[in-house]
């Protein structure tokens, strides 16, 4: 689905590695019955190979692509550095749910001060890592898997209305700016007005939300 942050991770990896692929978008509010044969709970993203092998959970899909396809490796080769990226991914794990809750609260015109405080705390943890490492990206001076895994939620901060949550984290803001200069990130960047159009329709429970912006 064009606006799903989890699928976004997989699309970033496909693009970064130059993997030939085709995309089938699923209407998440009106799922085709056959889709449950691809994923028992009907979730996305799911990869399907020409041998009919199915791989799901966004992180597992991303790791699979890095393992299975040649060319540029997005995960480091060193076992410790790989473990570090996975530990960082764990450190990030509360962010997706928190950003979603902020979005829903704001759209439903509810208080979200506590949620934003919690989100800021998570961002502080990430800021600490960047400060300690003194590197441009989370994996070092070059962009790597961990940056792509985190990116989708940071791309959405502005359109979700919570961009102020990085006001106290300068290193994280610098990272966001550096990410926006990456060719892969740029190629997949979604236009703000299209995203907002999608969000409006989504919160009106319009089943056509997912196709907003297509002709």
């Amino acid at each position: 689905m064009r606006f799903c942050p989890y699928s976004h991770r997989t699309r970033l990896v496909l693009k970064a590695k130059g993997i030939r692929h085709e995309i089938v978008n699923i209407n998440l509010r009106n799922k085709p019955e056959w889709y449950y044969t691809k994923h028992p709970l009907g979730q996305i993203p799911v990869l399907e190979t020409s041998q009919c092998q199915l791989i799901y959970e966004s992180v597992i899909a991303c790791e699979y692509l890095d393992d299975a396809y040649p060319g540029r490796k997005l995960f480091p080769c060193d076992p410790y550095e790989r473990a570090r990226q996975k530990m960082l991914s764990e450190l990030f794990c509360k962010v997706p749910q928190l950003t979603k809750e902020c979005l829903v609260a704001l759209r439903c015109r509810r208080e979200c001060t506590d949620l934003k405080v919690a989100l800021r705390q998570e961002f502080c943890n990430l800021e600490e890592i960047l400060d300690y490492q003194n590197t441009t990206f989370f994996g070092g001076d070059c962009i790597s898997m961990i940056d792509y895994l985190l990116w989708p939620w940071f791309e959405r901060l502005d359109v979700y209305g919570i961009a102020d949550c990085v006001s106290h984290t300068p290193a994280l803001r610098l990272w966001i700016a550096s990410m926006k200069q990456d060719p892969t990130v740029c190629a997949l960047l979604t236009d703000k007005s299209i995203f907002q159009g999608y969000l409006s329709l989504y919160f009106q429970n319009n089943p056509n939300a997912f196709d907003f912006g297509l002709c």
Binding site: I55, A61, P79, Y80, M87
Partner: protein, 241 residues
């Protein structure tokens, strides 16, 4: 390996020195199922290691420098590199050390093991909830949920038609799941595998594995630990020593 039956270190203890070359250290706790994953992998791969047990009811201050979350297991090598989160420690050991690979080389087979791991992911917190239950009334709901989760695992074994979760020989995914199935008897939850015959057969096969039997703790010791743990006793982690 040194330390596995050593008394745990608690608040006020001196921090341990650096890890000697040629050895890897695991910060553990004898009854912790998460740490057991790491111990199983260390044993299965024949990796020279030392164990430092941590008193999880009275943690040493220095332990938070090893893992800011203060949880076991944590690996520390002679370069001072620290790795935590049990699944991450297990994968690290498989990648960093030679010998028998516990994770498959094939990217799809490896992904399958990780998808099974996700399928299992609700079990640890369900077992913890069961452990901590105040009111006996809550049990049947929890047991139902646990039974449902085990049915998912039964389905995997049924579809694969193999003895173990990764194929016909034991591999990483089996070691990652085992510690919670080991504890069913001590928790009086054996009935949760009544309707999952393949899972029961798998449990029997696991008990015969030399690595599993070397690391196994008997029911009495598990029960002794659980009793003290539920009373918040600082002696719990050293039960039986």
């Amino acid at each position: 390996m040194s330390g596995v039956s050593a008394r745990s270190l608690a608040k006020g203890s001196a921090p341990p020195g650096p890890v000697p070359e040629g050895l890897i250290r695991v910060y553990s706790m004898r009854f912790c199922p998460f740490a057991e994953r790491t111990l199983l992998v260390l044993k299965a791969k024949g990796i020279r290691h030392e164990v430092i047990n941590i008193n999880l009811k009275n943690k040493p201050e220095w332990f938070f420098k090893k893992n800011p979350l203060g949880l076991v297991p944590v690996l520390e090598n002679s370069k001072g590199q620290l790795i935590y989160e049990s699944a991450i420690t297990c994968e690290y050991l498989d990648e960093a050390y030679s010998g028998k690979k516990l994770l498959p080389e094939d990217p799809y087979e490896k992904a399958c093991q990780k998808m099974i791991f996700e399928l299992f992911s609700k079990v640890p917190s369900l077992v913890t909830s069961f452990l901590r239950r105040q009111n006996k009334e809550d049990c049947s709901g929890l047991k139902e949920e646990l039974h449902r989760e085990f049915s998912k695992l039964e389905e995997v074994l049924t579809n694969k038609k193999t003895a173990f979760f990764g194929g016909n020989s034991l591999s990483m995914i089996d070691y990652l799941i085992w510690p919670w199935l080991e504890r069913l008897e001590a928790l009086e939850l054996n009935e949760c595998v009544d309707h999952t015959p393949k899972l029961k057969l798998w449990m029997a096969a696991m008990r015969k594995d030399p690595t599993v039997s070397a690391v196994l703790i008997d029911v009495k010791a598990h029960k002794g630990f659980i009793d003290l743990y539920l009373q918040n006793s600082p002696e719990a982690c050293d039960y039986g020593l």
